[in-house]
Subunit: 205 residues, 2 copies
DNA sequence: CGATTTTTTGAATCATATCAACGTACGTGG
DNA sequence: CCACGTACGTTGATATGATTCAAAAAATCG
C-alpha cells in the first residue's frame, strides 16, 4: 500500500511542490500530473532577480530550495524588505499578476535557489479548470492580506527590539540564512541601528 | 426608456448599495432584487461599535452614509487606526469573517451612520449562487491586500508630514469629518505630535 | 450655559538617522 | 592557496523627530 504510493510519488518527481499538492488531498493522480506538467524547474543564483520594479509579473514560483526577499526601493535608494520566502512558499507579486500592471517590487534570491515556475496563462487556466486550485489561491490571497494587516499592527505596537526577538524566535532560519542588512531593511531600520540593537541585547545577557 | 429605468430603481429602493450593484452590470433585475433582499438597513450612532475585539465577525456592511474607523488597541491602551471607511465602502474583518476566529479589530462609527448589513451565511450563499458576486469579493480582497502592501511602503518611505499631506490631498473629507486624534492614530503618532506637525506646516506657509 | 472631550503647548527624554571611519569576512583571479 | 578587493558589519559623535508627562486652552455636546 505504501509501496504503491511511494512508487506513484517517484513517477511524479518527488518535489516539494508535488508533496504540497498531494497533501491538500484536492486532486487525483491524473489531475496532479496535469497540474505539475505546467511547471518548470529553474535554478536561480544568489542575487539574481526573478522580478524587478517596472516589470509585469508574468509567472508564479514555488520555492523548492533556497530563499528570496521581496523588497522595494525609494527615491533615496533606501530598500525596504516586505518579506522573506523560504522553502514551500509561493512567490509572486499578486497585484501585478492579476492586473498586469508594472510592479513596484523586486524579488531577489538571497541564496542559490531552486524554484518551480508556472506562467500566468497556465496558472489562470488551472484556476478555471480546477475550482479547488482557485479556492487555494484565494485562501492564499486572504492569508497574505491578514499577514499584511498583522504586519502593520506589529510595526505600530511593538518596538524594533520586540520585533527582532519575535522574528528570530518565529523564524530562526532567517537569522542563519539572511544577511543582517536585509533583516534591518525588514525591520525598517538602518543596518547600523540593527548592529547597535544586537549589541545592546547580547551585552545585557 | 429612462423613465422605466428610474421606475425600476425606485422599486428596488434607491440606495447607494443598489446603485453600486447596478453599476457593475453583473446582475439582472430579478437577481438584484434577490441580492438586495438579504440586506437590512441599520442606523448606527456616533461612537457605536459594529464589531469589537474578541468577537467573531458575522456580518458584512456597506456604508450608505457616514464614516467608520477600523482600529486596534495594544496592551498600553494605544490605539492604531487601520483605515477609515466612508460612503460606498464595504466594511468587515475579512479574516475573522472567513475563518470565524475572534477578531483583533474594532469597527466604530465616527459619525452617525447608515449601513446595509448582510449576515455571514447569506453573504457566502450569495457568493455560491452568483459567481460574479464571488469574483467581486475576491477582487475586493485582492485590492485590500495591495492597499495594505502599499500602506507598509508608505510607512517605510515617507515621513509623517508627507503622509499627512498625502492623506488630506487624497481624501480631503478625512480632514473635515474625522477628529484629529483618529488621524494621528492612523498616521501612527500621538495626537500631540500631530498637533505640533500641523503647527509646523501652517506656520511655514 | 456648564461639563466633558479634544486640541494645543512646554520641557525633558529616548530611539533612530546620519556621516564618517574602521575592522572583518568572503570569494575570485593570479 | 594566497592576496587583494569588495562587500558586510561595527563603532563613535551628533542631529532630528517623536514620546512622555503635565497642564492650559479651545471646542463640542446635552
Amino acid at each position: 500500500m505504501f509501496g504503491q504510493q511511494r512508487c506513484q510519488e517517484i513517477r511524479l518527481l518527488m518535489t516539494r511542490l508535488t508533496n504540497f499538492l498531494q497533501s491538500t488531498g484536492w486532486f487525483s493522480d491524473s489531475q496532479l500530473t496535469d497540474i505539475l506538467s505546467r511547471f518548470n524547474t529553474l535554478e536561480i543564483k544568489r542575487k539574481e532577480h526573478i522580478l524587478q520594479e517596472g516589470e509585469i509579473c508574468k509567472r508564479v514560483a514555488y520555492v523548492e530550495h533556497g530563499s528570496f526577499r521581496t523588497y522595494s526601493v525609494d527615491d533615496n535608494l533606501h530598500e525596504s524588505v516586505t518579506h522573506f520566502s523560504f522553502e514551500d512558499w509561493w512567490v509572486a507579486d499578486l497585484h501585478s499578476l492579476e492586473n498586469q500592471t508594472p510592479t513596484v517590487y523586486n524579488i531577489q534570491a538571497v541564496e542559490d535557489s531552486t524554484i518551480e515556475v508556472i506562467n500566468r496563462n497556465d496558472f489562470f487556466s488551472l484556476m478555471e479548470k480546477y475550482p479547488k486550485f482557485k479556492d487555494g489561491h484565494i485562501q492564499l490571497v486572504r492569508r497574505s492580506h491578514a499577514a499584511m494587516m498583522n504586519r502593520i499592527q506589529e510595526i505600530r505596537f511593538k518596538s524594533v527590539e520586540e520585533r527582532y526577538l519575535d522574528l528570530i524566535q518565529r523564524q530562526p532560519q532567517t537569522l542563519q540564512r539572511i544577511p543582517q542588512q536585509y533583516i534591518a531593511a525588514y525591520l525598517g531600520i538602518e543596518p547600523q541601528s540593527l548592529s547597535r540593537l544586537r549589541k545592546r541585547i547580547f551585552d545585557n545577557k
